[in-house]
Symmetry: C2
Subunit: 140 residues, 2 copies
């Protein structure tokens, strides 16, 4: 197996090797908040990811233990993509990006409200969402 070499010992650079691109965290977002879990779900997201890029990102996320692919309960033609615990642990990272964004850019009002609410008690929000996501893991 070909292990891609690290650029340095810095954990930040190592993390960016995993999700430092324009698409990976959007897939994680869709899994966390978008109620999306299939290839076509991700394809339909507003940003319009190209199908080959989606395939390569899903592969990368899977190889890095962020998402996990399994059989879909409804159909053999579908697959179910889910966040692993490691993927769920990206919630605080994504939250802080939203909070940063809220501070420096405009955004849809409903989302803004949610973020401000979450910001009030980050730990509570994180724990609650994490719990929900872990529950989703064992479903089916």
């Amino acid at each position: 197996m070909e292990t891609s070499k690290k650029r340095s010992d810095c954990p930040l650079s190592g993390s960016l090797d995993v999700f430092g691109d324009k698409w990976s965290l959007l897939i994680v977002r869709d899994l966390m908040f978008g109620n999306k879990c299939t290839y076509n779900d991700f394809l339909k997201s507003d940003e319009g990811i190209a199908t080959n890029i989606l395939a390569s990102r899903l592969k990368g996320l899977e190889e890095n233990g962020i998402v996990e692919k399994s059989a879909h309960p409804d159909s053999k033609a579908k697959f179910l993509y889910r966040l692993t615990p490691k993927g769920i642990d990206l919630l605080p990272v994504i939250m802080e990006i939203y909070i940063w964004s809220d501070k420096h850019y405009e955004m849809p009002p409903d989302l803004k409200a949610t973020i401000r609410e979450a910001k009030k008690d980050k730990e509570k929000f994180t724990k609650q969402v994490t719990k929900e996501l872990k529950m989703r893991m064992v479903d089916k």
Copy 2:
């Protein structure tokens, strides 16, 4: 002026348009923790950024109000790059990436100790580092 179009209304995708690549946050890291502030400083970082990429990333970060370029007090041949308040506000994002990394990967022991300490009281750590960074802003 050519404004690059947003991929969607999602603040996460907008943020990734700003710093969603393998290099931008490493430059921010160098400015935050590495005591680096010149072009050559960034070039010398362990990851070995290519000089043309560094130039383009610094330009992007500047255009997006994350860093600011000014005259260097020591020499007319040098320039000083500094984080803006908006750039300093990325501290919590970077912190959470470090914390995620600490949970899921190995890392240098001294850095690990710092991260664990910061994690104990994130708000205290954030406030203190932010204060130091803002002080650095007004120096010179």
